[in-house]
């Protein structure tokens, strides 16, 4: 576990830093995606809902386009797709407890799974490992964000 400015940012994930989302290859081109601890902080910490757009299940969503929405009393915003892919399924546990995405963002609180359509081409836009966490740290410092 790597903690940067109070934010838990594991090195084994791929981050789309600008959008505060992560991706994790699960095998056979399936990629699990979710929001980072930073996104949880920015949304105010207590969520009212995370809703994956049902119409998008089975459809291709392009990188950085919205796959879900986050609602809190302070904030409403998209969960952008870290990669392009066909949206396979939503994490149904979030319907009962959206705050799993804040309390356990990289575990039980994942948002959706996608079948990547261009993982090899698009992963260059993501950051990972120690370098990735360093790049995320630079973003947090530039924007003066702490968790």
């Amino acid at each position: 576990m790597t903690t940067i400015r109070g934010c838990n940012l594991p090195e084994d994930l791929y981050y789309l830093v600008e959008k505060h989302v992560w991706a994790k290859p699960m095998g056979n081109g399936v990629v699990r995606v979710g929001i980072t601890a930073v996104a949880g902080k920015l949304s105010g910490g207590k969520l009212a809902a995370i809703t994956v757009k049902a119409k998008n299940i089975g459809q291709e969503v392009k990188q950085a386009k919205s796959i879900a929405t986050v609602e809190s009393s302070k904030f409403v915003g998209p969960v952008p797709a870290p990669i392009s892919g066909v949206l396979l399924r939503a994490n149904e546990k979030l319907a009962a407890d959206p705050n799993l995405a804040v309390s356990d963002p990289y575990g039980e609180g994942w948002v959706a799974e996608m079948q990547a359509t261009d993982w090899d081409g698009e992963k260059a836009a993501l950051v990972t490992g120690a370098e990735g966490v360093a790049a995320y740290q630079a973003k947090l410092e530039a924007d003066n964000i702490s968790c």
């Binding site: 757009k53 119409k55 998008n56 386009k65 919205s66 929405t69 986050v70 609602e71 302070k74 904030f75 409403v76 915003g77 998209p78």
Partner: protein
């Protein structure tokens, strides 16, 4: 889904603060869902676009002012249109309104609602 068009007609104004947050919240949410969202302000809704006014309207005591909900919607990419006739009703000039608002006549409202998939009225 970027082609799905949503049109929100906002008639509520500073006399009914509790009716002035949700329309902007829904608009921001629609934009976050990749809908193409337009808000059309008429009757008292137009008053919320008067410079400095929305900062003084609080839907919930101790909560955010309407201006914060407006800013969230603009940041999310929601388009704002104001009805010219309603500005006359309130003796407002186009320059009295916040930046980012386009003035249109009532006929535009008819055309836009026809083009949209969903119309909400508040």
């Amino acid at each position: 889904m970027a082609d799905t068009k949503v049109f929100i007609i906002m008639t509520s104004g500073p006399d009914t603060p509790r009716r002035c947050a949700t329309p902007f919240f829904f608009a921001s949410l629609g934009a976050a869902m990749e809908y193409d969202v337009t808000m059309f302000f008429t009757i008292d809704g137009t008053l919320l676009l008067k410079k400095g006014l929305a900062e003084t309207v609080y839907p919930k005591e101790g909560g955010k002012p309407v201006s914060a909900f407006i800013q969230d919607a603009l940041d999310a990419g929601v388009k704002f249109l104001a009805c010219t006739a309603s500005t006359e009703l309130h003796n407002l000039q186009p320059s009295d309104l916040i930046d980012g608002v386009k003035m249109v006549g009532g006929a535009s409202m008819w055309q836009l609602t026809e083009e949209c998939d969903t119309v909400l009225t508040f």
